[in-house]
Symmetry: D3
Subunit: 134 residues, 6 copies
């Protein structure tokens, strides 16, 4: 359905898009930095109340990372982008999976959060390339 719309360029539809067309991978990144910071603080503090709160807040922030990435994937990126960057689907799927990884022991490991940040940076790099090409 979108294939037909995006033939030559997306300009025609662009001016009446809603949501507003303002996207920025920084939203996912800031939340992912939170996740990482919480993991680090969790490791440094053995107070059980602190640790439970850390997990509550980390869960919430990790869900926000997923949400911001999903929105980018569905609302910002369009068919021509996926053609040009065939790895994009998998990249987003892996990044959102990483944001959700928390069932195993590694879940409060800052290294997992860093892996997540690296994936988001890969996405951001592509994002800004597509913005410049637009």
């Amino acid at each position: 359905m979108f294939a037909r719309l995006f033939k030559p360029k997306t300009t025609v539809r662009a001016h009446c898009d809603l949501p507003c067309g303002v996207y920025d991978p920084a939203q996912a990144r800031i939340e992912a930095e939170s996740v990482k910071a919480i993991c680090e603080k969790y490791q440094q503090n053995e107070d059980p109340v602190f640790r439970t709160r850390a997990l509550i807040i980390k869960e919430e922030r990790a869900n926000l990372v997923k949400h911001h990435l999903w929105v980018l994937w569905t609302d910002y990126f369009k068919a021509p982008h996926f053609e040009k960057y065939p790895q994009l689907h998998q990249l987003f799927n892996e990044a959102t999976k990483l944001a959700g990884v928390a069932g195993a022991k590694g879940s409060v490991d800052p290294a997992v959060a860093e892996e997540l940040l690296a994936k988001i940076d890969e996405i951001a790099k592509i994002f800004w390339e597509t913005k410049q090409a637009a």
Copy 2:
């Protein structure tokens, strides 16, 4: 990262997955049926208060369709599924885009909601195949 984990089968990780492992495309479908019903009622009722409320509720339901589909895509489907069903990424991207289509005049057109339901049914078919194969 998940590639390595899911080599032969996913049993090892499966028993400690969180969220709980209960997924059902019915969640997205019920909300999409709501979207369709609202579109139909919108067409039949010209009262401006009714119509504004219809759009408010449709927006909310459409967001739930997207959310339930995103969760399936990220949390349920794993690398081996994407290998077996290479169309899955695009299917989810198109379905969530359809759920979000509402900026154009067609946005209260029940036909768009039916297209969305058809995409969800395609996803559900694959979902149940993977469940049987598990």
Copy 3:
């Protein structure tokens, strides 16, 4: 759909009801199955991070069970249903209370979740009877 039930008076309003008229007890059931699955996994895994996350997610899912049941009780079921099924009010009250039971030691007991599922099934049975009668 409610035309027959609301003989003379409310017929006019019936065709322009909002929300959209799409209800399905499956929504509450899927979340309740999640609650049960989380209880089972909680019992099988003593990792404290896993257990805290399990309780966070169970809380959220249990709230969704309550929400979906409340919506059915208020938005779907109407006066004639409550006359025909005088046990309905208590059934919903007990089911939502069960969804909220979590203060005692039994709260991560899959048996409580099964009791909840049984209540939801009783509600679903009545729901589908009223749908057929409509």
Copy 4:
């Protein structure tokens, strides 16, 4: 607090209930007053942007009325209350239905909001009687 009501059986659980045991029908009432005030302002202002915003905010506040009432009905009121006040179930069902009434032309009619406030006051009267009896 419930000690007297739950003579032999439930005493044990009573002191470890969660949520916290703090309930107040004022929460539903404040939101219902909002709904009424919005209806009045809607009637006095024909600017379309104002009216759409009024409906958006009214929808949200009406949902909060429903939510606060549902919580009281499920979490605060217990079996002995329903025995003593057999009208309670219907009262809550009618009040939450009124909070949701908005599909018809009357939906921005302050009179509907006043009916809702009257129902909430009936509930509040019973609530405070049960508190004194506790």
Copy 5:
């Protein structure tokens, strides 16, 4: 910008304000009482499931305290109030900070919740003075 608008009195703008103009510090107070009650119950119950749930629910309630206070500070109080009560900004900032205090050992200390309640009462006192002056 608001300085100019609120010259002699706010009557002109008042009738077209949205949200609806219904505010009540009771909303923040009820949630803060919840926080306090949860702290007390936490102290009395060493069951780990109970304690984790207590922290989950306390987090949620504390966020609601903050939210209700922020809304009062931004939406209810206007420039002339801040002139008349120069301590108001700091009072709200301290109250919302207190609502968020939970990282240290004292976070499940009912005394912190009581401090919070005292701040809310100070705000409520000013609130009702401004209502009478209106």
Copy 6:
């Protein structure tokens, strides 16, 4: 990070703060840019469905602007900052008020959104100064 600011007393607590210590005024700014973009698109499109959706989404984004600013004001900025920047309280109060301005005719005026962006930039400037001083 706050080590230097909270000389003797609060140092102990500083390293175990939760939330995580990751703050960025960019979060409020991105949402405010959305608000502005929606205002512009609203002006350019007279389709009533488009316009209602624009107002629904703008309402949501404006609430996010307020939320992100409130979090900065309560959770990031501390007593010494307010001493050094005595205008901060009023700046935040005005910025959140601007984010909420939407009851008047000007509410879909991109100029109001620009005023909001300017206030956020003032806050951001102070924010980054305090970060460098930390």
